[in-house]
């Protein structure tokens, strides 16, 4: 992971504004089957923050991510992204909203009938049609995640960890303002995981806001950045330099 990459792929650093980049105000989400996934969540994430989102399986982490890009709408409450209330945003404005994010989905969401390079290029074609040097940009970001020799493979020809890295590359390639990763290292070995986290720290250093849901205790404890802990849909802990577990607790 080169510093040169971070310079090219991260947003230029911006002075900390008073207005949060992302804010949740009393957000609850009840799914159609009456499962309450989030309850009364209040949250503010500022430009340049690096946040871990931790919590047991089923706590509501992915739901929170889905609400951010309006894949789902909250049952109550309001969500703001860069000053826009997305909960009431017109449907035709959603593409612009989603392009501000780079998202690594927990299930990757790769296009099965496109190659690795096409999958990554796709994110650029969608966000910036007519982009110059498409191929170089795609190859560069795939090189960063260590997949330079898999450009023309299809997703089902890749291992789980390789697919995950394609998803990461796709989320990075258009230089999003906000990088959201839902369990981006779940399928990676410790070394590769650490490499990815280093990469995220670098782009964060250049000003990109990073939100990363994870079960990786080691990483959270090593990096010591902001930790938001969710438990049964509630934010139970929000610490500036937190750890995976509450100090003194044996479990989440």
């Amino acid at each position: 992971m080169s510093v040169a990459f971070a310079e090219r792929f991260a947003m230029p650093a911006v002075v900390h504004g008073p207005r949060p980049v992302i804010s949740f105000h009393g957000v609850s989400k009840v799914y159609g089957n009456h499962v309450v996934a989030l309850r009364e969540v209040d949250l503010a994430i500022h430009q340049g923050d690096f946040c871990f989102l931790v919590g047991a399986s089923g706590a509501g982490k992915s739901t929170l991510v889905r609400l951010l890009i309006r894949e789902e709408t909250p049952s109550t409450g309001r969500i703001f992204v860069e000053g826009d209330e997305i909960t009431r945003m017109a449907r035709r404005k959603l593409p612009k909203l989603r392009r501000r994010f780079g998202i690594v989905f927990q299930d990757y969401k790769l296009l099965a009938n496109r190659t690795v390079a096409q999958n990554v290029a796709f994110a650029l074609q969608v966000t910036r049609p007519g982009q110059r040097h498409l191929r170089e940009k795609v190859e560069e970001v795939l090189w960063i995640v260590g997949l330079e020799d898999k450009l023309d493979k299809f997703p089902d020809e890749l291992s789980g960890g390789e697919q995950q890295r394609v998803a990461i590359a796709r989320a990075l390639v258009h230089r999003p303002h906000i990088f959201v990763a839902d369990e981006p290292t779940g399928n990676l070995d410790p070394d590769t995981s650490w490499g990815i986290v280093q990469l995220l720290l670098q782009i964060n250093h250049r000003g990109t806001t990073v939100l990363m849901a994870t079960h990786n205790r080691e990483i959270v404890d090593l990096v010591r950045r902001r930790v938001i802990a969710v438990e049964q849909g509630r934010v139970v802990r929000d610490e500036a330099q937190g750890s995976y577990l509450r100090p003194g607790d044996a479990t989440l």
Partner: protein, 297 residues
């Protein structure tokens, strides 16, 4: 411009790829579309042919005899004839003398006998008029009745019944042709929509992913619409060819059986263009409808 170009290229590229990738469904769609275009083309050409035959009848019907009273002078007749000639609705006017009328009528033995018994010729002279539009005959009938030199008892041989009937038949047949074409058009739209929807259903996750990454509805939609257009055009080329060949054969065999159906090349070409345009339109619109429900991500 660059952006639009790039988006269009992307759309074309995807459309082609998708067409190949889903060849089975694509071909099924093209086949059904082709079948319907065939029916539409056939129906339109058939009504057009029937129409042309009737049109011939109509032309024969577009004649009227204005009977001239025996007391009229030649100068008066020539004057009236000139007035009719100058009328825009008139194709030709011919003067038929009493003798000519008798000669004409004498082909009927009954009349010939009656003429002989009478000794004198009771048949009136007439101005034989040919007009462009069947519907104008009534006006000339009226004009004749208002003209002094015209025979008082029977002014013309105008028979509104026959003419209005013929006119109705032509209108009805044209109407039926259009209605059939419209019904087939609607049916094809529904079929295309469902074919495309089946094709799209298999790719709904792809659409969902595109939308979640930030693609606009149109970005997702274009490849499908181009794909539909492509299918419609291919279908129209094949069906149009078959319709054209079929029309040619039909006219030939009709002429052999002495039924004079004119081969209307201009109409056939117009129809081919129409079918191509219609195929593209139906394919595109069917795709638009087919994709719609999957875009709500």
């Amino acid at each position: 411009m660059r952006r639009i170009g790039a988006s269009l290229w992307f759309a074309w590229h995807s459309a082609g790829q998708n067409f190949k990738r889903n060849l089975g469904v694509s071909l099924a769609g093209v086949f059904t579309m082709g079948l319907i275009i065939l029916l539409v083309g056939g129906a339109l050409l058939f009504t057009h042919s029937v129409d042309s035959i009737l049109q011939t009848q109509q032309n024969n019907a577009s004649k009227i005899k204005i009977y001239i009273s025996d007391s009229a002078s030649l100068a008066q007749i020539a004057d009236f004839q000139q007035r009719l000639k100058d009328d825009r609705r008139v194709i030709s006017v011919a003067f038929e003398t009493k003798d000519q009328a008798a000669k004409e009528a004498s082909s009927d033995p009954d009349i010939q006998q009656a003429l002989q018994t009478l000794g004198s010729n009771p048949l009136p002279a007439s101005l034989n008029l040919e007009v462009k539009q069947l519907t104008d005959l009534a006006a000339f009938d009226k004009l004749a009745k208002a003209t002094p030199i015209v025979d008082r008892t029977t002014a013309t041989d105008y028979n509104p019944d026959v003419i209005s009937k013929l006119h109705t038949v032509i209108n009805v047949i044209e109407g039926i042709g259009i209605v059939i074409a419209l019904i087939l058009f609607a049916i094809s739209l529904v079929i295309i929509m469902n074919t495309i929807r089946t094709a799209v259903y298999a790719r709904r996750t792809e659409i969902e992913i595109m939308k979640l990454v930030g693609a606009t509805d149109w970005f997702v939609r274009w490849p499908f619409i181009l794909e539909g257009m492509l299918g419609g055009i291919i279908a129209a080329i094949f069906s149009g060819g078959i319709v054209f060949a079929g029309y040619h054969l039909f006219v030939q065999s009709a002429q052999r059986s002495l039924l004079s159906v004119p081969f209307d090349g201009g109409y056939a070409v117009t129809l081919l263009v129409l079918l191509l345009g219609g195929g593209a339109l139906v394919g595109a619109f069917g795709s638009y409808l087919g994709v719609r429900r999957f875009l709500a991500v």
